[in-house]
């Protein structure tokens, strides 16, 4: 079974985010593998293993030629990657991103399954997986917290507001997985060394015939205002000396909660 995993390289979440002058997220400096995507990579590796054949291919998009996040996923065990690396992609919206991913999947031609995180940790739109499915003409099993494959059918537990649904579709299918669906492995030293020599095919949006569909132009929206949100006033902070609970009780009384 051949699995494509959509991965995003994002600015280090530990560093406070900032916007460029054109209101795109600053992506200079090292980009890391979005932690949300490590679950998809792990799931793909397990599924290919269980199927007894096939390989895991990564698909990613970046406005610069950053590969460090991809190398992490290759070190986990993915076989190869397609990186759509193009300044024209800067400012792409969810639909533009989905078009790039869908074209890459079509270009590969032999994917049985496309896996993605439910949403990225920096943009968190949460629509890309279903958009990719619609572009490919495939079903999508979204927001999956448990995935099983048997006899060419994928069955998942799909998160709902009140619990979960069991939903099912035949391959080929797009599946989006929530964080925690599996426990991502740490790349081994051997994996890290091997990753350096794994093929990363670099393409531009034009190579995919999408030059006018990506970036700010493709997004067809204009940022009209950016401002700091009114800061919430931090209140009082006390070191607990054994009577900290009394401060809470007093506060609950003023709120008439007790």
């Amino acid at each position: 079974m051949n699995v494509v995993v959509c991965v995003k390289q994002i600015p280090d979440p530990a560093v406070p985010g900032a916007l460029d002058a054109d209101h795109t997220l600053k992506r200079e400096g090292k980009l890391v593998l979005d932690e949300s995507d490590s679950y998809g990579v792990e799931m793909a590796l397990q599924l290919v293993d269980a199927a007894g054949g096939g390989e895991v291919t990564l698909v990613s998009m970046t406005p610069n030629n950053e590969v460090s996040g991809l190398r992490t996923a290759l070190a986990m065990g993915a076989a190869k990657a397609i990186l759509v690396s193009d300044p024209a992609c800067e400012g792409s919206d969810a639909l533009g991103t989905a078009k790039v991913i869908a074209k890459c999947v079509e270009r590969l031609g032999d994917a049985d399954l496309v896996l993605a995180a439910t949403e990225s940790s920096d943009g968190y739109t949460g629509t890309v997986p279903a958009q990719v499915a619609e572009l490919l003409g495939w079903p999508a099993l979204t927001f999956s917290k448990h995935v099983e494959i048997a006899d060419g059918k994928v069955k998942v537990q799909r998160q709902t507001e009140a619990g979960y649904d069991i939903i099912e579709a035949s391959l080929p299918v797009v599946v989006s997985v929530t964080a925690g669906v599996v426990e991502p492995r740490y790349p081994s030293f051997k994996g890290i060394m091997a990753a350096k020599n794994k093929p990363v095919e670099q393409l531009t949006a034009a190579d995919l015939g999408l030059a006018d569909q990506v970036g700010w132009g493709g997004a067809r929206q204009q940022i009209t205002n950016v401002e700091q949100a009114p800061a919430r006033q931090a209140g009082e902070k006390f070191e607990d000396d054994g009577t900290g609970f009394e401060k809470v009780v007093a506060f609950l009384e003023t709120l008439k909660v007790i």
Binding site: G126, T142, D165, E168, G180, G235, E246
Partner: protein
């Protein structure tokens, strides 16, 4: 149709659509919030619903100002996918100015499919909507809610917008039941192959997370799955509140996903939010920072949660919370 003139500058859009969702037999509160906003933005409000029976939806949507419900029968398929495909046809026929979705699971399935069919961009995670002349101004927040961003669409066609729950206050307008227009089943091609086999509800005792006046949430600092109940659940019970969780302990499998508060989980806005052993990652803050009052109990004095807390106790929750529970019990 008489124009409602509450919109900015007295302008209104002519037709605003809302993708309605139900939970059990009821229309979700988040849908009602959108209907209320839709009345302010447009002179005509209509609803699209994918589900078994539209009778309740028509009655409730009517109470909130909608005049029509386009009823799609998902016929066992994932409703959001079917709705997205059906909407493409309905939009082409009826030309709404805006289609509003809840930033929910089904809402995102539907808006995603629709955007591809119309080749139209989506605006997601919305927290405000207004009109500038006849242009829709969409507001969202980034970087954990610290920076507000407004955007306008520059292309033509209907604006496809997903809004986070609790962005608006739901208020009925007292209309009569909306007219049900049956769309029937839809040939969605392979999109319709995703079938719902079974549904499970993880019943929660006590008030619902999104509706409770008091919410008590636990994070990694609670220590283990076993300690969640005596600390978090028990305090919530004593305060007649609901209990929630940070993403960290949901991912770790300590509690079900349905309890997650934050960007990927539920948005809550209670009178009082108590965060126990939660550091306050931006992921979590987005889901709770608009609570009226916030109490944080955490060992790490530098934890970001203290930046939004009205009252912060720097200490071990395993000592502070049991003492607090005893004091509340003694308080009577």
């Amino acid at each position: 149709m008489t124009g409602d003139t509450k919109g900015t500058n007295g302008m209104t859009l002519s037709k605003v659509w809302v993708f309605a969702e139900t939970a059990g037999d009821n229309v979700t509160t988040a849908t009602l919030e959108l209907l209320t906003k839709a009345r302010e933005l447009g002179s005509t409000v209509e609803v699209v619903y994918a589900g078994a029976d539209a009778t309740t939806v028509a009655a409730t949507a009517g109470e909130y100002g909608a005049t029509k419900v386009f009823h799609v029968d998902p016929d066992g398929s994932l409703p959001g996918a079917i709705a997205g495909v059906a909407l493409a046809g309905l939009v082409a026929e009826h030309h709404p100015d805006v289609v509003l979705f809840v930033q929910s699971y089904d809402g995102r399935d539907a808006i995603a499919r629709l955007s591809v069919r119309l080749d139209a961009p989506v605006l997601t995670n919305g927290m405000s909507l207004s009109l500038d002349g006849d242009a829709l101004v969409f507001g969202t927040a980034i970087f954990g809610g610290t920076v507000l961003v407004d955007a306008k669409l520059t292309g033509g066609g209907p604006a496809l917008v997903a809004i986070r729950p609790k962005s608006f206050v739901a208020e009925p307008s007292g209309g009569s039941a909306a007219e049900v227009v049956s769309v029937g089943t839809v040939d969605a091609g392979r999109a319709g192959e995703a079938k719902v086999l079974e549904r499970f509800e993880e019943e929660q005792l006590g008030p619902k997370l999104e509706e409770a006046a008091v919410v008590v949430s636990g994070g990694r600092g609670v220590g283990s799955a076993e300690q969640y109940k005596p600390l978090v659940e028990e305090l919530a019970k004593q305060l007649k509140g609901a209990f929630g969780a940070s993403r960290a302990i949901v991912d770790a499998g300590w509690v079900p996903y349905a309890l997650q508060v934050g960007q990927t989980g539920k948005t809550v806005k209670p009178k009082l939010y108590i965060a126990i052993g939660i550091s306050g990652a931006t992921q979590h803050l987005v889901g709770m920072k608009n609570s009226d009052n916030i109490i944080a109990i955490n060992k790490d004095a530098e934890a970001p949660i203290f930046g939004v807390a009205d009252l912060g106790i720097v200490g071990d929750c395993h000592k502070v919370v049991p003492a607090l529970i005893d004091a509340i019990k003694a308080h009577g």
